[in-house]
Structures are given as structure tokens and as C-alpha cells.
Amino acid sequence: MAALSGLSSESRTLTKTRLIMRLIAVLPTIVLLNVHASGMGQSVTLSGKNVPMKKVLSSVEKQTGYFVFYDAELLSDAKPVSVEAKGMPLERFLDEIVRDQPFTYRIANKTISLVWRRMAADAPAVTAPPIVLEDRPVLALISGTVRGPDGRLQAGVSVMVKKTKKGTTTDRNGSFVIAAKQGDILVFSCIGFATQEIAVGKETSLGEIRMKAAVNELDKTVVIGYGTTSKRLNTGSVSTVDAADLEKQPVMNVLLALRGLVPGLVVTPTSGYASSPVKMLIRGRNNINTLVSSDPLVLIDGMPITTLNLDGTDQSNGANILPNLLRYGIGNTPTGGESPLFGLNPKDIESISVLKDADATAIYGSRGANGVILITTKRSRTRTTDYNVNVSEGISKVLRHYALTDVHQYVAMRREALMNDGYPVNEEFAPDLTVWDTTRNVDWQKALWGGTGKVTNVSTGISAGSGNTSFRLNGNFGRQTEILTISGGSQAINLAMSLDHHTNDGKFITSFSSVYTNGSTSEVAQSGQPMTLPPDAPPMYDSKGGLNYAAWAAAGLQLEGQFPFGSLLQRTKTNTNTLNTNLTLNYRPIKGLEAKVSIGYRSSQNLTQSTNPIAAQNPFNSYNPPTGTATFTGVESTGWIIEPQLNYALDHAGPGRLTILLGGSDQYSTSRYNVENGTGYTNDILLRSIINAPIIAAYDAYGQYKYAGVFGRVNYDIDNKYILNINGRRDGSSRFGPGKQFGNFGSVGGAWILSDEKWFQRILPSYVSFFKLRASYGVTGSDGVADYQYLTQWASGTISGLFPGYGGIARPLESQNAVNQNFHWQANKQLNEGLEIGFLDESRITLVLEHYLNSCSNQLLSYPTAAFTGFTKVTANWTADVHNEGWELTLNGKIIDQKDFTWGANMNISINKNKLASYPNIQNTPYYTTYLVGKSLSEAYLYHYLGVDPLTGQYAVEDMNHDGAISSGQGNYPPMSPANDNRVAINLAPKFTGGMTTNFTYKGMGLSLLFDFVRQMGKNAYYSIGLPGQALNNVPLEVYYNHWQKPGDHKQFAKFASGNSFNYGFITGAINFGASDGVYSDASFIRLSNLSFFYNLPAKTAKRMGMKGCNFYINTQNPFIFTKYKGVDPDLQSFAMPQPKIITGGVSLNF
């Protein structure tokens, strides 16, 4: 709570804070009162003469926590009571007071029911055979048993008499007893189930009541931190993606399936390779340092993936590297590392919850600052045995192509350029026109990534349940080859298992889940760049199948790095094994109380082998004959987490329902890597083993991370109408130095369902069925830096190898990092307001509008320092306060819901505004010349491109300050300063993002489309053209058609220049152009990110074939993109390998 008291610094939220503080003061009192009541147990203290019975009974209720049910009629005949009781046992007390009354009592399930004496003899025992009541409606004890849709006895279902609003909940055996009259309506409700109403008839036993899964969108279960709730009762901002939306996306990384589905979440792949890391950003960028990741915390079945939320460490500095390494792998792998979620099978996932505001994330306290993603794996949901086989096969192709010059245009361009500069077209100045064969016309985009990738997926599994046990087993094999015309592919094997068991009395529940993933990749880097390969460049391979170094050397291009295809033979193979398991033991000793311990274990090992064989190297550029190199890397990360939890639910705590969660979390993880670098191989065959290497260098590192916290949540719910939710957490992390390890976090959230207020119902139009307001405020934190940063570290080597020795000392020690012992938890303050409206019956159409304001101050990051201080960065907290404010709108509806035809649609759109709200002393920081206080962090400050100077043909940018020179201030002036000429501000953050899904089903057929869209500005293909006309520099077609040729031409692109002579004006012109608004343009897109179609064989037909079901489907990923982007891929904004489109077809059989 200490952290909450600090919130008032935010003036905007001052009044809110006062309210919160008052609530904070009130709430513990409620808690204590109730603890007191139940602590007193079953004894009563009361004294008085002629006390009205009603008063006596309410004292009993208060003191015992028991509830008394009676018929008003019954009390009218009651006599006042004179009693003298001090700590009298309840039953004796009751005997005492009913002695002279016309009624007596019964106790069951902490419920005292008053019944007419004449009825009492006949009152049923819970399991007694049904008894027929008299016609006269009198209060009687009605009993029954409730089962879930899966047939299991269901505890915790609320049973309420509709008229009186008095009620109880089912016990662990699913049974309940309630006092009701014939004709009363009983309302059965529970999170995740459709609310049912049953009228009490003549029989006192209602038998078995089967709950149905919620059809109402509002009553669907929502997974939140350490628990579940429903959309209706949730006080925080949580978006959930269900299995149905994930299963149909043929991607190897489930994160990519989230695109467009979650408002406020921006998912961007780092490259077109299937296993490449994927960046996630929830509600805008918090960090001023672009190198620091804002990735959310990701948990799989409660086990945090700790390697994901770290970034920003420097590859060149060994001691800092560990977390980064685990995430990205060693060195420059072609894929740029591997996403920790690569290979996790989307078909094994039940749901993904994205927690966005403090109310939802504060329970994860210290690590919730960037949001939390909860991945829940599938469990068996049936009482039958289902066997499933699913096979699909497909292809992947490049999605987009950008037109560059063909060979004729290229040759013409080069000739013009050489003529402009006065050079002859000969072997010396134009080998690309004279030595190479200009009759070749290669489209290098096609040649490099015009291949057809193959996509295969086979999965099979069983899901079964009987008695007290149910389980699910599933195996999956997926393989995807790249669109690169040379080889390359990724493969994943998964085995997932879940097991659930409960004892006969339902007191003890065990759940186990385990997901094993093996991912392997074998890739080469994309060789060559379509932008730097002339259409007449010789083939990659020579006639003998070797690399065509000779053709390039013939053109005088024999230096290292000039031949672009060396990497074709430099293969990197990776193999990653990941095991993610969770065991939860659940004990419910008495009604309302649940003791639970959740134990998680995660282990991942990655082996990477990279080779640079002799065959890949330039035979024309070496003094000594080239030798081979091989690097073998092992990375291992294991961790466990233990979280004991105590959950107590009190159905009648004062006017409402109170739920208390207390828990502890203890996490421990270790990471280790070793690198063996072998050099000097004289034969490529030997590269397979380190032992064959003439020179071996090895390096290793090890890191430990420990994390511990206590947390609690208090949820108070009055009539499902007013809901208050308070989270608190105190956390310690080993990433901080002594004295800085602990931090406090918490949140307060509330919801008010206005549609349940009578007065509001009168105002509401009839088509509005649900209206809810909610708000939350809280503080979450982050410890997202590398391990050991508070320690001074001296070492004798880094990842790139050992340091050279000196004198007799082979292993000199060198200080590895700038040390700051004082950095501490980062604190993010988050305010969230939401409006939820349901339209039509059962809220068939829902609208959710959210507004948030997040403030990130005390930022913990890697901060640049001048090199003269010893290092160029240090881990520290900095005073910048970054605000992200935004709106999210979600619209969800079942537009048509008929037996044979349904049409559902979902749309979401998010707007985020990022602002550097304040930065005290910015003038003394490295960001003085990069950021402006009050402006977005994503603002790029650019020259204004004027076009080509009609006289000279050079690129011209505007001299904004009219000083006769073009200057960006060279690090001396802040952006937009009058001293600078780069004063066009372009915000590169998306203006808005969103998605749209629509599903149709007709009988057994279904079609669904998923779009995602982004409105943004981005770097286009002109960024890399430099000076058009140089050798080995291809250009977009529009450059060719719109370039300057003679004085007076008004064109967009410069005069062709050969690059053979140094022309200062042209070069600075090109550099200025590259830093101008001329290379930025609209990079918005609407992408059909998924299109899928299925057909279910009619049940009868399937049955005849011996199946329960048979489903044919076609799933396509990224089939279309609509964009005006001037380049290949508006997501990646470079000429690197783009994301492919994937088309698969398959069949799924159920037995």
C-alpha cells in the first residue's frame, strides 16, 4: 500500500486517489469484521428482555456468519424473546429461542431455516426421496445437485431465490439446500455458465441441474492473473483470444496469430523467417531507449518466460549479454535469433489473455509494467473419449514484389551516368556493362525469394474423461520451408499433455500440464540484396555448382564482401528443446476456502551450429589459403516457480460477496551458455566437430535470477452490480543491488453495472441490455535489465573470445561494465476507464470503449554515457516521464444467429498517443538532441525534400534557417531548434491499428476472414537508392522514369552519377535526401491476415464412416495486402526477406 500512497503526485488523479485512499481505509475493516464473525464460530452472545424475534435473528446472523431463512408470515406469529446468553453454543441458543414459538429450525450448510413446527417432522433430509408439499405455499428446504456441462459436480454455483435475493452456493459435491416456497424462481449462476432459472414445484428435491456453457458473451470465462472472472464482472482491461481464432492460423509462432485480434497490442515480426523473434508492444512504447524492449511478460500455464522480457544489452559486452543471448541465440544467425514461442503449437492453446491495465496486471506487480500475456493450454473438456487426427499441407509464396529496373533500363542508366561523369564504358569503369553478360535479365527478387515454401502440419491426439479423471494428449509435427530459392526451413514437434483428477469428495483436485516443444531450423542468410544486384549480375553458382566468385573477380570485384552470395554456403542449424510444465494441487477443506499450490518448471536448451566453410570463402582475396570456421553454441535456461495461494470466498459478507486471495511467489531460474569457436579448419568435411579445429577458443557464462513476492487480492461484489477489486503485491528481485531489491505495487479497480439499476433501466432504450462503467488505477513495475548489473565484473574474455594476453599473463582481467548499485524498480502508473454496452437480448452485440493513460517514470534502462566515462552505457533509472494515452474500441456481435446460418463479426481499433511528458534536465542528457519534451518518442526530425535542383540535378533539401548550409545541428541543438534545418517532424508510430474478423457458418460450412490494419508512415524503398547510376546499384522503376537529365528538368530523383568520381555536392545531397521526408511515405496497410474455410461432413455421414466428425478446411495466412507502400513489406520496411503468404488445406477427423 505504500506505493499507492505515492500516487497523489499525479495531480490529474488527485481526487481519484482520495477516493481510493478512503476505500483502502474502509476495506480492511470489512475484512476484519468478517474474520471476526467466522472466528467466533457457532456461539452467540445476547441478552435482553422482549427482544423482537427479527432482531434476535439478525444478531445470530451477524455473530455466527450463518444465514437465517424464514417466511415473513412465519415471523408475524413469533413472540418476543427474553434471553440471557453469553458465548452460548448456537444450537442451544436456537433451542432456547424457539421453545415457545410456532416454528422450529434446521441447520444445513451454514444456513438456518425456520419452518412451521407441523412441517418440521416432514422436512426432507438432503438425500431423502422427494416429498410432495402441501398446496399452500410455505417455506421449505429445497435441495439439489448441480453439474457442469462436462457432467462434473460443480461447486461454487450461486443459487438464489429471485424474489428475495437470498441465496447460497453449491458445495464441493455440487449440492445445495435453500429455503424457498413453491412457485419461487431459483436462479443458478456461475462464471462461465449460462444463468438458469428453475421454478420450485411441489417436490423439495430438484434433482440434478445441468449448467450450460455461457452463450452470453458477457458470461464467458476470462482468464486473469491467478484466477478467472467473466466479462460481466471484470474490473480491468483484458482481451481474450480463444482457441477457435488461433487454430485456423497456419503459423509456427502463435504470437503472429494475435495480429489484429487484440486492441492495443501491436505484433511485428523481425523478419520473414518462421522462427524469427516477434516484437510485441502493448499500448505504446514506454522506454526512451529504443534498444530496450517493451515486450510484455508472457506466462504459459503460470510459468513466466523470463528470457522474453529482456533486451537492450550490448552484443559486444560479454558480461551483459546473457539474457539477450537466450532470446536471440549466438551471433548473427540468419533468422536474427529465435523467438521463445517459436514452435508452440497454436492447437494446444485454449486461450490467450492479454492483460493491459493495472487492475489486471498489478497482481504480477513488478513485471506487469509492459502488460501481461497469459497463455493457457488445453485440457480435456469431455466425459467421452475423443480421438483426433488432423493433417494439412500447403505452400508459401512471396506476397509482394516491387518493381526495379530491368537490364535494359539498368544498362541505359549506367551509360547515362558514365557519360554524365565523363568516363568511358570500359572494363575499368563499367565492368558490369562490359565484363558481365548484359543479355541476362534477372529479377533478383524472384531469384532470391521467389521460391515456393512447403508447409506441412500433422497432429493427432486424444481427449478423454471418466470418473474423477480426465486427460488430453496431443502430438504435433509442423514443418515450413522458406520462400528463399535456396534451402532453408523450420520444423517443430510438440507433445502436450494435461491430466486432471479429483477425489471422490471433491476436496482435493490435481491438475497437471506439460508441453514439450522441439524446434529446429536450418537456415542460410538471404544472400545479396535486390537493390544492389544489377539485373545482369552473373549467376550465384558457376557451372560446376560452386559459388561464382570467378565471375565477380573477373569484373574486378574480388575484395572480401564484394561477392554477395558467400552466405549461401554458410549454414546455421539450431535445435531447441523446451519443456513447460505445471502441477497444481488444490485443496478445499471447507466451503469457500481453497488452498492451492502451483508448481511450474520450464527448461529450454538451444544448440546452434554455424559454419563458414572454405567453399563459401573468396578464393581471390586471401594471402593465406582460406580456412574454415565453425561455432558451436549451447544455451540452457531452466527455472521453476512455486506459488502457494489461499482463496477465500464469503458469499454474504455484509451486503455483498467477498473474495480474498493471498499468495506467494518464489521463482528461480538459471541460464548458462557456452561457445566453442573453432578456426583454421583446412577441410570442410572436418567442420562438423570442434575436435577437428586447429585453433579452439571457448567461452561460457552463467546467470542466476531469483524472484520472490507476496500478493493479495480483495474483490467485493454487491449484487453483481458494484464491484471493487484491490490488488497488492510486494516483490523482490535479484537483479537489483542490496537494499534495492524490494518494491511495492498495487491497484484499485471498480465496476458499476448501471443496467442493473432500476432508475437507469428507465432511461435506457430497450435494445440496450447491459451497461457497465469501470475504472482502475495502479502501479506496476519492471526489473527488465540483465542479471548482475549492480555488480562490478572483471573477466578475461567476452562472447567474441578471450582477451589477448600480456607479458606472462595469459588471462588479463578487464572490467566489463559500468557499475551502478543504485538502480531500482521502474514504476508505471496506469489509469484505465472503460465503458461496456451490450445490445439486444443476451448482449448479442457488445461494445467496449476504453481510455487509458499510462505514465512511465523512473525508467529503468540502459542509459548512454560518453565514452570517456569508461563505458558508453550504464544501467540506471532516469527521470524521463513517458505518457501513453489512448483509446480502444471493440465491437463484437452475432449479427445473424439462426439454426442454419450464423454471421458474427468483431472489430477493434486502437489509437495510442505517445508523449515525452517531462524530462527534467534533458539538456544534460544524451536525448537532448533526439527528443522534445511534449512530443512523441517516435517522432523523426527530417529535412524537407525540395526535389532535384533543376540546374544541377542534385538532391536539394530546404535550408530552413537560411544560413546557406544544410545542418542537422550535429548533436548540439534540440530537435526543431532554429539552428537546425531538419525541422519536418514525422511521427513513425502507427496513428491507429486494428483488426476485423467476420465469420459465417451455413449448416456444416464456415468461412472466416481476419483483417488487420495499420495507419502509419514509414521508410520507403528510396531510402537505399543513394546516388542512382552507380555500379551495382539497382533502383526502383519510378526513379528511372523520373530522374533529372538536363538543366531545367523538374524531377524527383537526381541526375545519374557513376560514383567513379568524388562529387561532394552529389554525395552530401544524397545523404541529406536519405535524412529527408523524401524517403518517408505512407506505409499503411490493410492485410487479410487470415482467410479460412471449413466444411463439416454431416454427422450422419460421418457416423456411417465410423467417425464422430470430419472436417475439411483451407486456411490461408496473409493472402492479400492492400497498401500503397513504396517498397516490399510495409511491416519490415526494408528489402530483407518479406513475410510470405501461406495457403494450406487439410482434414481433421474425430473418432
Binding site: 582475396n621 594476453g805 570517456f868
Partner: protein
């Protein structure tokens, strides 16, 4: 039952948990690195930390690549000083150093001088502070004293180059970034004060012999500190002090003497060496070669040792005829080998091991000479020419010692003071060419720079005398706005 009990009941477990938490978040130390406390817990560890100061100065921090140009003490002072003055030309082209057209946007190698010198200073500060903070009884007083003195010497050495290349520079004397992150530039005079102080401290505490280098001249000793102090006094114009310090070194004939065969001057542990840096011969691209050997000696293939600079005609023509330094320390090669018109291109040949003949992992023949006796004669001669010690005649005598070795006749005793001054300058040029930027510093120090450099064809149009100080790296000004760029650089 009362409230108090309940409160205790609830809070006690929380308190217990809290206490347990401290343990729950305490981790083991990393395995591949050790803490400062551990690094300075024994004599051997502390010595390894000091080796960690020397090794990157000459070797860089990796075994796998060519370490030429990785630091001010790995050949870079020679290169940039050589280009900026009148010694070196870019082979087949120019660069902004050679033309004295540096701009405020900086130049990579100038930046590397800055960063590498400060890295050396940081490492030295780390040793000084680490030893001072160490309470370990296994780190003995004699070692503490010696290593602290070595670190101070190295710190002074690095600052000497910084202050001469850049003028006023921030004087960072601690590893604590909190104290240095927002430093302004310290006036050069104050930097010099610290240099002198450090050198005096080092002089007092360093061993007099070569014990700590196990007989090799690769660890600075008392005379190294004295020799550098002599140079610093000379640069400061404190001629009496300079002459006195130089005399101390020169008179220690038991340890130091001029090597008469010029081809042997730069051999490892040569009698002329006061301090040499030792390369690690296991470095892949360099082997037994010194940074300058690998850089200057041409090799007919691409890659290392490709002739990327050649001696200027100004330098080659400056030698008197018969000067053995011209014959033994300068060599030439035919340009046609490199695709240029046939003709002689001259290169420095002080070091004889380079690309064509280094041995990977072999036994070194040469070390990289940082301080040598000949300079002490020149320092004393210059101080004497300014009236110290024995005055002009002593100066002439000192110059003649070197001239004699170079096979040249003595300077006549009757020359004017102007001529003597020119003779000193000339002798420094001929003796110390292509060594550690001497010529670049001398031209400026002796007031010759403008006249000599602004007249050179390659430096036309002359940008201005502000070029005599290098620009501070732009990134440093971005990261620390208290730094102000040298005048003239925009």
C-alpha cells in the same frame, strides 16, 4: 479471540515471508566474471587486472582480428599524427586527416584515439581504486605500491596523448560514472598538473629495474616514468626540469644505451628501449608483428599489409644524404604491384616484421617501442638549446650523439641559436619519424606547423590553424552536453 490476535495471525506470516524473501532473492555470483573485491584479493589477481590495462592498449580486445588502428597505443597515434603532419600519404587517395580538412562530424580514427585512450584511463583508474578499496591481506603492500604506480604511469601516458591531440579534455580520475557523466573539459594546464603528479608518484614507487616484466622491458619502471616526465616538462617548456629528468635516464648507462646498428633498435628488449608494449603473437591476423610492422610493411596481396599509406616526399626528401636512418628505416616498393603506375613508393621500415613474415603464435622478435633513449637525448638537446643545463654546446653534443649513430657528421659548434633550433627540429624529424605522432606534436609545439603544413600541396586549400587540435567525437558531445567542441569545427 480479539483483534490483536487476528492481526498478529495475519501479519506474522507476512513478516516471516518478508524475511525469507531476502534469501529468496540472493543469487550466486556470475561464473565468468569476478567482482572488484575478488579481482584485488591477491597479488596474482591484481597483476592480471593490471595486465588487463596493458593488453588492450596494443592488442585490442579480440584474438581474431587485426588490431592495428584499434587504439592510440596500437599504431593509431603514429597513423593520424603521420597523416596530419607531413609524414604519411594515403596510398592512391586522400583522407581528411591528410588534407587537414577534418569537420565537426568527426573522423573515425580520431574518435578511436579518444575512446581508446579513455578506456585505458578507465582501466587504470579501476586498478587504482580497486587496490585502494581492497582490504585483503593477500594483496601485499609491495604489489599494491607497484601496481598503483604502474596504473598512474599509464594514466599519465594516455592523458599526454589526449591533451596533445585534443587540447582541453575532461579529467576523469574515477570509475564512478556519477562523477564523470556530466564533466566539462578540464583546461589542458590542469590535465598536465595531474600528469606531472601521477608521474612523480609513479617515479617514486616503481621498481628501478625490469623485475616486474621478468627482465623484459614491457612493464614501465622508474625510468619510464622519468622519461615520460622529461617529455612532459619539455612540452610544458620547463626546460631545466626536462633536462634533469632526461639526464637521469641517459646517465643510467647500465640499463640504457643507444643501439648502434639501426636495424636492431626496435628489437624486443633492445638496450635503447625504456618501455615497450608487447603484442600477443596468438592474434590471428598479426602474429609476431607489431601494429606498425603489420601496417607499414607492404604485402602484395589484399588484406593485411596492403600498402594503404606511403611516406610523403616531404619526409623522404628531408633526410641529409648519407643518413643511415634513410637507408635502414625507409624502404620502397614498386607501385605497379598494386595496380598503380610503376614507381617507388616509400614506406617506414623501422620494424622488420610485418604481413609478409609474421608467424602466428611464434616467438616475437620485436616489441612495440613506446619510449626509447634516443628521444631523451633529443629532449635534453632541446632543453639545452633553450638554455638549460650546459646550453647550446651541450645541445650540439647531444644531437651529435644521434648524428654519429646515423652516420652523419657533427653539427659545428658555432651555429646560431636559430640554426640550432632548426637542427633540433630536423633531428627530431629524422630520428622520430613515424613514431607515435612525434612530428605532429613537434610541429605545433615548436611553432612550425602553420608554415610547414599550409604550404603543402595536398593540404590545399588550407582549412585553418584550428586543425592543429582534433575535433572531439560528436557522440561524446551528444552524450555529455558539458563538452564544448574545439573552435573551428562545425
Amino acid at each position: 479471540m480479539n483483534y490483536k490476535k487476528i492481526i498478529v495471525f495475519i501479519t506474522l506470516p507476512l513478516i516471516l515471508l518478508q524475511t525469507a524473501c531476502k534469501k529468496l532473492v540472493t543469487v550466486d555470483e556470475p561464473i565468468s566474471s569476478i567482482t572488484t573485491q575478488e579481482a584485488f584479493s591477491t597479488d596474482a589477481q591484481a597483476t592480471a587486472a593490471m595486465a588487463g590495462v596493458y593488453a588492450p592498449m596494443i592488442n585490442g580486445t579480440t584474438m581474431s582480428s587485426n588490431n592495428v588502428y584499434t587504439g592510440f597505443a596500437a599504431g593509431l597515434s603514429t597513423m593520424t599524427g603521420g597523416f596530419s603532419s607531413d609524414e604519411l600519404e594515403v596510398f592512391g587517395g586522400t583522407n581528411p586527416l591528410e588534407t587537414n580538412q577534418l569537420t565537426g562530424t568527426g573522423f573515425y580514427y580520431v574518435n578511436v584515439i579518444w575512446t581508446s585512450a579513455y578506456k585505458t584511463i578507465y582501466n587504470a583508474n579501476g586498478v587504482i581504486e580497486g587496490i585502494a578499496a581492497s582490504t585483503s591481506g593477500d594483496l601485499h603492500d609491495s604489489v599494491r605500491k607497484e601496481l598503483t604506480a604502474e596504473a598512474k604511469f599509464v594514466r599519465a601516458f594516455a592523458y599526454t596523448y589526449l591533451v596533445n591531440f585534443f587540447g582541453d579534455v575532461p579529467l576523469a580520475l574515477t570509475v564512478d560514472f556519477n562523477k564523470t557523466a556530466n564533466m566539462a573539459r578540464t583546461p589542458a594546464a590542469d590535465v598536465y598538473k595531474q600528469i606531472v603528479q601521477d608521474l612523480k608518484d609513479a617515479q617514486a614507487d616503481l621498481a628501478a629495474d625490469f623485475t616486474y616484466g621478468y627482465g623484459e622491458r614491457i612493464i614501465p619502471n622508474k625510468y619510464a616514468a622519468t622519461a615520460l616526465l622529461a617529455r612532459v616538462y619539455l612540452y610544458l617548456g620547463q626546460y631545466d626540469d626536462a633536462a634533469a629528468q632526461a639526464s637521469t635516464v641517459i646517465s643510467n648507462t647500465a640499463q640504457y644505451s643507444l643501439v648502434q646498428n639501426l636495424n636492431n633498435v626496435f628489437l624486443k628488449n633492445s638496450a635503447e628501449a625504456i618501455w615497450q608494449l608487447k603484442q600477443d603473437s596468438a592474434i590471428l591476423a598479426e602474429g609476431t608483428a607489431t601494429p606498425e610492422g603489420i601496417q607499414f610493411l607492404p604485402s602484395p596481396t589484399f588484406g593485411n599489409g596492403q600498402l594503404s599509406e606511403n611516406l610523403s616526399s616531404e619526409l623522404v626528401n628531408s633526410f641529409e644524404s648519407g643518413d643511415l636512418r634513410r637507408t635502414d628505416w625507409v624502404d620502397s616498393t614498386d607501385g605497379s604491384v598494386y595496380g598503380l603506375p610503376a614507381g617507388n613508393y616509400y614506406f617506414a621500415y623501422k620494424y622488420k616484421v610485418g604481413s609478409p613474415n609474421f608467424i602466428l603464435g611464434g616467438v616475437d622478435k620485436e616489441y612495440y617501442m613506446a619510449l626509447r633513449l634516443a628521444e631523451q637525448y633529443l629532449i635534453r638537446a632541446e632543453a639545452e638549446a633553450k638554455g638549460s643545463n650546459g646550453g647550446a654546446s651541450a645541445a650540439i653534443a647531444d644531437l651529435n650523439v644521434l648524428r654519429n649513430r646515423a652516420g652523419l657528421g657533427p653539427i659545428s659548434s658555432g651555429i646560431t641559436s636559430d640554426s640550432l633550433w632548426s637542427a633540433v627540429a630536423h633531428e627530431r624529424q629524422a630520428e622520430l619519424f613515424c613514431e607515435w605522432g612525434h612530428r605532429w606534436f613537434d610541429l605545433r609545439r615548436m611553432g612550425l606547423a602553420h608554415d610547414v603544413l599550409s604550404a603543402m600541396a595536398v593540404k590545399q586549400p588550407w582549412a585553418g590553424d584550428y586543425q592543429f587540435l582534433y575535433p572531439i567525437p560528436t557522440t561524446e558531445i551528444v552524450d555529455d552536453h558539458f563538452l564544448v567542441q574545439n573552435p573551428g569545427y562545425h
